[in-house]
């Protein structure tokens, strides 16, 4: 989780990811952020997040993103 927080804060230093729960619903993250964040996650955790998982529910909060990362890590 710490590693994820690092990725998120590096992509958007202006946000407090502990608090945000509507990152996508409120258009806080734009497509550029998403590409950067997912690219970095794939790299750091050595996974390949599928487009099918790019739904708002999975990216609205740091916790939700962490769930997705864990799902992929368990599959390996």
């Amino acid at each position: 989780m710490d590693k994820l927080m690092e990725i998120l804060t590096e992509a958007r230093p202006d946000l407090d990811f502990e608090k945000e729960t509507r990152l996508i619903d409120d258009d806080i993250l734009d497509s550029f952020d998403i590409i950067t964040i997912v690219g970095e996650i794939n790299d750091v955790f050595d996974i390949n997040i599928s487009v099918g998982d790019l739904v708002p529910e999975n990216f609205n909060s740091a916790n939700a993103i962490w769930q997705v990362v864990q799902k992929y890590m368990n599959e390996q």
């Binding site: 497509s31 690219g39 794939n42 790299d43 487009v51 099918g52 790019l54």
Partner: protein
Amino acid sequence: MSFISLYFILFLAVVILLYFIVPKKHRWLVLLVASYVFYLLNDLRAVVFIILTTLTIYLAARKLKSISLNQKSFFADKDEEWLKENKKIYTKKFRKKRQIILAITLLFNFGILFMLKYFSTLADAFAELINVQPLGLNILLPLGISFYMFQSTGYLIDVYYNKVEPERNIFKFALFVSFFPQLVQGPISRYNQLAPQLIEGNDFDTKTFKSGLLLMLWGYFKKLVIADRANILFEAIMQNYTSYQGIEIFVGMLCFVLKLYCDFSGGIDIATGVAKCLGIDLTPNFKRPFFALSVTDYWRRWHITLGAWMKDYVLYPLTLSKGYNKFIRGCKKVFKRGVAGKVIPSGIAMFFIFLLVGIWHGPDLTYLLFGVYNGVIILTETIFNETRKIKKIKPKQRKKSTQHFITFVKFSATFMLVYFGKYFSAAASLGGGVDTVFDWFVATFRYTDITTIFYNFFSWTGFNAINFVILVLSTAVLVFVEAMQEKGIKIREFILSKRIYIQWAVYYVAILAIILLTAYNGTGGGFAYENF
């Protein structure tokens, strides 16, 4: 039967009446029949194309589902040890099958769109190559083909990624593809957002109905009073641009910007209003784009559903693909943690999207350059923003007046960048090429003699002073309403919260204004985007 006709209003009245009379369970059938009647009356031969797309996508979606089910039952009776060894191999096999189905169906459908759009240009180029007389074919595209194509392929891709359950009933699916208000020029809807609203019969609600009517009136006002009027001036000036002075050319091009926005967003307002009368909410397609403070922001507010489609179905699949992931990693290795390592991979992908949108507009170099122009600006803005983020530059605390001034500069700069971008589409709309864009651009900066400005303007354009005043005033109304909306005021809710006689006064004034001030002369009456 265009939106701009009395027949359409009559047609709509009958559809709305029937819709709310028929039992709830069967209301979707009214919409399906109405949609096909609407399409048949508009473009008889094009019905073949819409049926072809409906059929192929319906069948492909069912097939994708059945492969998924087969995969599940195939793994169900295997023991754990077998699964450990073989699951990955077989999952890959099943995935391959699904990929093939998806690829063939997408290729087939986009192939049709590509052929219709590009065939005549390619045929002429080929004729020139082998030195024979070009055919000079001019294929008129089937009504709204791009929009139902985007909508239905989006559904198929969602089914592929298991984001939605495929529809079993082909007629219900046919309604999703052909729903008549949005058939002409969008908005491009998502299956899980639109389909449930179409299938479940909606109850009649007076407030929603009135709100729909108001939105329709607003759309007609934008289209008939502003867009069609601005278009007359634009064509008169730009077709004969050598006769006019710099500022007059500027006015002519402003008219194009006004026309394009009011034509497209007016049409969308009518579509959204019609759907609302039936109790159906369509996705917003415009969010006051000319209030944007950057070009990136402008594109987030203009043709929103196309942008969202490109993002979800092209940008993300592209940047998440294994090959692209390798490219991203490569960039990071080369550029370490700098701006370039971050911006290059995503920037190239976004640039590609703008190129694609440009190509989608048509087989003209001007459209391609339109894509390049916007791509370059967006890329520049992104590099700028990312540098600020990496260097952790925080916005400075400024005096209120300074802040207002900066906002004004940003607003003006964005407007001018967007404005010059429109030269490409404006030239293409009058059949001009890159040289036209260049000539117009130069002409805009031609010397203007203040003493003779607008001297011959009215006699040459055939546009009288009254028309000019109407255009300016109606544009002022537009700017005022949008400025209110930008402040968060919901105009329609505000009107509907007033006493009934005030509401009626608004309807009467609006209808009278549209009828009396319409610039529509009885010919044409189509929308700029309907044959895209």
